[in-house]
Symmetry: C2
Subunit: 448 residues, 2 copies
């Protein structure tokens, strides 16, 4: 945690990759190697103990940036301090995600390797660009595809308890399409071309940012709900298993508890949906999100006044079951062309299709059984969380996928003073119990 | 030119103000003082030689930022080098605007003061925040209003020749309204509130940037032409004097030369206007410009994926004769309210009303006569250039206004290697000739 690994700011990633390579060698993996990419390297490790079953494991070692919210301790101090609620914690950017959980998983594997008790063969393929949207994971996955395809399940141990001690199991991930929409005068053939024009000419010149506003306004209404023709067509209706899980969730949360459960808290839902309607929308509706919007001068105060020559929207679209990135891109391109925006560029930055693992898969049962054996009743979601490249193990190779399971945890992953719980308390497991729970899951899976 | 004065980046402004104060004292002004503002100080200077006529003079001492385009010489080296076309030049950010022209004007005044030949009384009120949109000039102007009101004309000497040697006279300035439009979840009562939400919630939460896109799309069409109801109502039709000047301009440029003359070059005009139509649109139509647009993450690459809680558009509106900032703001507020955008905030950052000086004013005639005496035939524009606080001298105090006149010049004010021509050549006057031409204008005005 003292080693920064911030991929989006080019800080410390190669040191982090090298450190991770050493950890894996020291843990006893006979095969460990850095994986070259056009960006930052991945790390591959493998151990074959001649077991009947094999697990493949996704992971990442880059953290979010330090951010601009206040820290009491330096973000890379790895300070061991007393937390008012959770006992001793380690403070640091990445403590709760990904570094605490990742190293906990490596430690659990090391314990099994060193004691000769590892009951499965293991392949790890970790990346250093998750926070960037995993632009190169698909290529790394492709490079190891034949070997990964021999695994029986994809599983990554971790520390997944909420501060309340609650655990959940996510069977599915929505698709995730990251792209930039760009209006440029050069491509449009109108408005400022290679450089901005003085804004005193605005009344006689076309405007890229005004055009972008009109493009974006055509994609969603003023609330942000998508109006992209055809996007809903391939969306799958909830399966019988989904409907049963949804009934379980509603029974657990109550109609009024859905907003809190999905993470909205007290913020009113789009369309003021509540209860089952809100849950169904959360699980089965697509989103068209603007996560970054920029054109012209974006610094403090006012500045030189220009008509900018380029305007850009960074977007991410979350795609429910059945809706592929390919179909979505086709709808988007057709929408733009149909609305006279043929010149607007789409640059795909990342694309990960949806995946769903059946609830009765061995790896899912191993996780659920392990939690229940420790008197924890997991919330089982048919789909939840962000989609990502881990879905490849299910969507491309067809193996059941549990991306992150195990006790223990931390908090404040977006804010200052991010922490990892060390000793644990009556609600949340500490580091040692976390590793034991991960080993328990692996052993249950091996013995099924 | 070795002293940076970049108001938008808080670099060197106080040093620049102090240096300017010293220059003015050394030039012989008996009254020189810094003028306190909530931002950077202005500089006031005054000399009363008991002349029948008095001129008041606007000026500014802050420059644009260094920018990201390449420089051959360091931007504050003030290097004296040979230019392939213009002979010796001084290189530096601010060389062509404002530092060369400003110091040339002060030198011209110093020459008249020191030789006892100053034929008018002079008041100078300079600011250090022009590049920021002059947020505090109106308050400074108000503080000196009674004294400024005693002037007969507002005049600022300078270096205004184009690289071809051509000179122009601008009789009018459009109004200039700078504002921010802001959509915030907190004020809207929907969407992310104090901080962003993870974008995996986007399909069940309202989106400030999508709302902003819809707001902006309601203000202009996809080309950028305004559709703000009522904004055109108070716009004045061209006067007989304007129509005569427009005929002169068209005769000078030819129908095909208007695009080049207004500064569009080869860029197609909004609506593909040409000739007289283009010129009339340039002079008499309002603009609604987005000069800065930002929301969420605007740095390089992709980043944490969120639904941003705030989205902002920086806008500047150029207002033709008759259209006040007050009326424009009223139209904008009504438009937003009528379209269901009551919560969208408007923050006014700067507002300067239009002004127009008659072509037969003494100060205009002094400038035109001086140019013609040197065999230069000035292009006379009824309105041109950016509006700004100099218009106050005309719109508030009713005096004729010539903001910048005199031979000499430089170039590349937006780019690297900005320069000021030192010795001059067959096309453009050098520094000495520049100062002589400014003195000639002042003397012609005094003798009318």
């Amino acid at each position: 945690m003292a080693q920064p690994t911030i991929s989006t700011q080019d800080i410390g990633i190669l040191d982090g990759a090298w450190m991770l390579r050493r950890y894996l060698k020291e843990a006893g993996f006979p095969e460990v190697e850095l994986v070259d990419t056009p960006g930052y390297p991945g790390v591959w490790a493998s151990i074959d103990v001649g077991a009947p079953k094999t697990i493949a494991s996704y992971g990442f070692y880059d953290s979010r940036p330090v951010g601009d919210r206040p820290w009491t301790y330096r973000p890379f101090s790895a300070a061991l301090v007393a937390h008012p609620e959770h006992g001793r914690v380690i403070i640091g950017r990445g403590a709760s995600s990904p570094k605490g959980p990742l190293v906990s998983w490596i430690n659990a594997l090391e314990a099994m390797i060193k004691t000769g008790s590892l009951p499965v063969n293991v392949m790890l393929l970790f990346e250093g660009e998750e926070i960037k949207g995993s632009p190169h994971y698909p290529a790394m996955f492709e490079a190891y595809r034949e070997r990964l395809a021999t695994a029986d399940a994809a599983f990554t141990g971790g520390m997944t308890q909420a501060g309340s001690g609650a655990v959940s199991v996510n069977l599915g991930f929505r698709g995730f399409l990251v792209l930039e929409l760009r209006v440029s005068g050069a491509r449009w053939g109108r408005g400022p071309n290679q450089k901005p024009l003085h804004s005193s000419l605005k009344n006689v010149v076309d405007s890229p940012p005004s055009r972008l506003a009109n493009v974006l306004a055509s994609l969603t209404d003023a609330q942000g709900a998508p109006r992209l023709e055809g996007i809903d067509d391939p969306i799958l209706p909830p399966s019988a298993e989904d409907l049963s899980l949804i009934d379980d969730l509603l029974g657990r949360f109550g109609e009024g508890g859905v907003a809190g459960a999905v993470g909205l808290g007290s913020i009113p839902a789009l369309g003021d949906l509540t209860g089952r309607e809100l849950l169904m929308s959360y699980l089965y509706s697509p989103s068209v999100n603007i996560n970054g919007l920029y054109s012209g001068y974006t610094g403090p105060g006012t500045e030189v006044f220009t008509v900018p020559e380029v305007a850009t929207a960074r977007m991410d679209l979350r795609l429910p079951p059945g809706l592929t990135c390919e179909h979505t891109l086709k709808c988007l391109r057709e929408h733009l062309d149909d609305h006279g925006f043929e010149d607007v560029e789409i640059e795909v930055l990342a694309d990960h299709d949806w995946s769903r693992t059946p609830v009765d898969s061995e790896i899912v049962r191993a996780v659920v059984d392990s939690y229940r054996a420790r008197d924890l009743d997991p919330t089982i979601w048919p789909y939840k969380g962000g989609g990502g490249p881990w879905s490849l193990y299910r969507s491309e190779l067809g193996m059941p996928l549990m991306n992150g399971a195990g006790l223990g945890g931390g908090g404040l992953r977006d804010a200052g003073d991010e922490y990892l719980i060390v000793d644990g308390n009556e609600k949340v497991a500490g580091i040692v119990e976390s590793q034991k729970s991960q080993i328990d899951i692996v052993e249950r899976f091996a013995n099924m």
